[in-house]
């Protein structure tokens, strides 16, 4: 399958790419990993007149720790994050990177591209919403940082202006005594999850000091399950408090029936995945090395 013919532009810096967007207008799209955009173009769901290729911009792929935060260059591939001991400082980030699609897609797909696409079924936004995450946004002559919760506006819609692009993703390293986990339920590796759940806890002894819970694929954006978080915050994590959080998470899900399952099924699944992620997060907060992975049907 061939996409519609387009003009190809190779940017040599992010500033130049932003200038190209500004000059080319609405007809232009950015090409990062291309693992969503190219299939959409081949199916002619997306028909950009101009593609601005970011893959030849030097210095856009990095993972570094600075001032208590992890910094990811916009074009850092999922596979690079999966293999990075620095990124593994935040285990939920490793869970996410290692579980996206398959090896081939992880070798190409990028963290910045995933956030900028804002697909409701994407993995990164769900995971990063449970952490303190900021998105670096670059224009030709201006740079700003936007909190992730403000960056994701709606399905496939972000706070980026038409001549602005993601330059970096900055994630604060959680305090010691924290633990998180991300679990997604998929029919097979290459597809999007049916439902996914991310949980990040901060513990003080037996008491849950803070909790963040986000659900993926069950709404127009990743959903922050605030009532579920409230059911855990300041509480001892007993079977009863955990059951209350799971129930609240189920209520927060807003799924649609589709070929992946009915709305009822997805709502039930959301509760089960939150429970699984919570169990792993609790053990990790105690310092245990627990492997978490995606579950296949």
């Amino acid at each position: 399958m061939y996409p519609r013919a387009f003009h190809y532009h190779r940017a040599s810096s992010l500033e130049e790419a932003a200038a190209m967007l500004s000059q080319l207008g609405d007809e232009a799209k950015l090409l990062a990993g291309g693992q969503s955009l190219i299939p959409l173009m081949k199916l002619r769901y997306a028909n950009p007149g101009h593609l601005v290729d970011l893959n030849f911009v030097p210095g856009t792929s990095y993972i570094k720790e600075e001032n208590g935060a992890l910094h990811f260059g916009a074009l850092t591939r999922h596979a690079e994050i999966e293999a990075s001991p620095v990124a593994a400082r935040i285990p939920i980030i490793h869970d996410c990177a290692a579980g996206i699609a398959d090896v081939q897609v992880r070798n190409r797909g990028t963290i910045g591209g995933s956030l900028a696409e804002a697909d409701p079924s994407g993995d990164w936004a769900t995971v990063l919403m449970t952490l303190q995450t900021e998105v670096g946004c670059q224009k030709t002559k201006a740079h700003r940082r936007v909190q992730l919760v403000d960056f994701i506006k709606d399905a496939y819609t972000t706070a980026l202006a038409h001549d602005e692009l993601v330059s970096e993703v900055v994630v604060k390293i959680p305090p010691s005594g924290s633990g998180g986990a991300y679990v997604a339920f998929k029919r097979s590796a290459p597809v999007y999850p049916t439902v996914s759940a991310a949980v990040q806890l901060s513990m003080e002894g037996e008491i849950c000091k803070d909790a963040a819970i986000a659900l993926g694929c069950v709404g127009l954006t990743a959903i922050k399950a605030k009532d579920a978080e409230g059911a855990l915050r300041g509480q001892r994590l007993t079977d009863k408090t955990i059951a209350a959080a799971v129930e609240a998470a189920r209520a927060a899900a807003d799924p649609q029936s589709d070929m992946r399952g009915s709305a009822d099924y997805k709502r039930t699944l959301a509760g089960s995945l939150v429970k699984r992620a919570l169990d792993i997060a609790i053990l990790r907060a105690r310092g245990e090395q627990i492997e978490a992975g995606h579950i296949y049907a």
Binding site: Y2, H7, G34, Q35, M41, V103, Q104, P190
Partner: protein
């Protein structure tokens, strides 16, 4: 600012051989490999980034060549299934897929062998879980994967000394 609607220059190496070509921007890497270079061992299955039949190595990394534009491979080194054998001798991965009956119709096999090549380059003794994860992006509709896993294990064994 480069702005070309027509042909773009692409310089790349395929199986060690350098090529200087001009391509239309929308040409996919798999089309360049199959149609321009006549290397038809790389297959097109689903054409929607699912099945992995089009898997090749790009600078050592397994990629789906139906989901990369040819122009993006400018400066890259590509390995296709034709590049696995050396001096008329099958690569240990190719030999293992034959010996272990790791194929039936063979359509998915080139892609599976290149995913195996990336795995064994990074991990000389993969566990079964690691093998399964490495080929999760390659769909086989004949074998049920058991003999493919045996083939990967056999290839790992015979490549250990290498």
């Amino acid at each position: 600012m480069p702005d070309v609607f027509g042909k773009l220059a692409v310089n790349l190496k395929v199986n060690g051989k350098p090529h200087s070509l001009t391509v239309e921007p929308r040409m996919l890497l798999v089309e360049l490999i199959r149609e321009t270079l006549d290397l038809t061992g790389t297959h097109v299955g689903c054409d929607t980034t699912y099945c992995g039949a089009c898997t090749v190595l790009m600078n050592g990394a397994a990629v789906k060549s139906c989901t990369i534009f040819a122009v993006q491979a400018d400066g890259a080194e590509i390995t296709t299934v034709e590049g696995l054998e050396k001096d008329g001798q099958l690569h240990p991965i190719q030999k293992a897929f034959g010996d272990a009956y790791g194929l039936q119709c063979g359509y998915c096999t080139p892609g599976l062998m290149l995913s195996t090549a990336q795995l064994l380059a990074q991990n000389k003794q993969p566990s079964e879980k690691e093998m399964r994860k490495a080929i999760a992006g390659n769909t086989c509709r004949c074998t049920g994967y058991q003999n493919i896993l045996k083939a990967i294990q056999m290839a790992a064994q015979s490549m250990k000394g290498a």
